[in-house]
Symmetry: D2
């Protein structure tokens, strides 16, 4: 059985999460609505690690914090892949389309090096 092999792609992660939910009969709870709530709850746990520190120092993490941050990032990816699976959305297709949109929206020569322009464009 392959289910113990490490996950190395979004597809294998998707399959592992499907099996995980199926074994626990959790598909009934995994509506897109509920999963979107679970995802934002993890995103907030990530936020908590950074809320009182200065942005310039926010890449410096103590070991324990670093481990927690890694877990929050993993949880976000897990719920992101799970909700995409439930909605039959291909994440790479979606991201390639979004990159094209962003390239049109933020032309490098117009937004370069300016916070003002940056936020205006946002």
């Amino acid at each position: 059985m392959n289910s113990d092999l490490p996950v190395e792609s979004l597809e294998s992660l998707r399959d592992r999460l499907r099996a995980f939910a199926k074994e626990r009969d959790w598909d009934q709870y995994h509506t897109p609505k509920n999963l979107s709530m679970a995802l934002i709850a993890e995103a907030a746990e990530l936020i908590e690690h950074f809320q009182w520190v200065n942005g310039d120092h926010s890449h410096i993490l103590e070991d324990k914090t670093r481990q927690s941050v890694e877990e929050e990032l993993a949880d976000i990816l897990i719920y992101l892949v799970r909700i995409s699976d439930k909605l039959a959305i291909d994440l790479y297709d979606a991201v390639n389309r979004k990159i094209k949109i962003n390239e049109g929206k933020y032309p490098a020569d117009k937004v370069r090096g300016s916070a003002k322009k940056y936020t205006e464009y946002k």
Copy 2:
């Protein structure tokens, strides 16, 4: 130059996002703190699509909503990969560790088919 090739892996997405930020001189804004804020803002845009619908119907999306949802999911992945890059965290390593933790925390034979147990275990 390969930068127009479609993204097909988290690594190629990471590289594309690095180039995108570099061309715009945006690394100065991409602190983990700021990126965690951007990520949760996208997670909230996802939430908005589901907040007034019944969970059981939340997988049924009109075309326009579906397209927006795809964009939010793409944005979440983009910020997730970007923050992981800034923190030098390997997302697959993190997710494999988290899956192991979850397997220990929610043993299939104990939590199966019970919302009560499910939430208690959560």
Copy 3:
């Protein structure tokens, strides 16, 4: 000294929170940016209590959950009042303006009793 009197208005809450921060020298951390992060982190803790339950049952809370929900609601109010204070925004002025906007945006006779219209109007 009156600081132990129960808070009974947004103004007295504002004053209490000012004193609380001052005694701890925490104003340096209480930028609107940081407070907006703290607020959303509390909003997410609220979300967690409801993420796996059915909406129709989400008003039924076990005692322990109820107490936690009360604490999250209190925390949200605390950060909301604190950020308003830091930005010199009067919450009642803001809310009265917003109610007027909402009344124009969602005319009762047009949106009544229809989820479709409701979400369209949103």
Copy 4:
């Protein structure tokens, strides 16, 4: 009829929101679950105004941004009061209890003036 009088207390806001929902037959959508989602969506709109600016400058808002921030704060208060009403929770009771908890958790003489202690205590 008094419904056009400005709101001046959490109680009068609660009553106004009750009337607003009743006139639109929206109580059916206002489950605590859905309201918690709406609240976090507003909290995220607040976050968006601060995500790329430096914390030290985040209290300086251009007029247009200031107006938007006021609207987000109003929306947060609206959903906070609405969810409290649906759960029959008195916000001032909750906040008075929470202040007591915080006073015990963060004794002024121990946490004063230290980010390190501050975050440790959090």
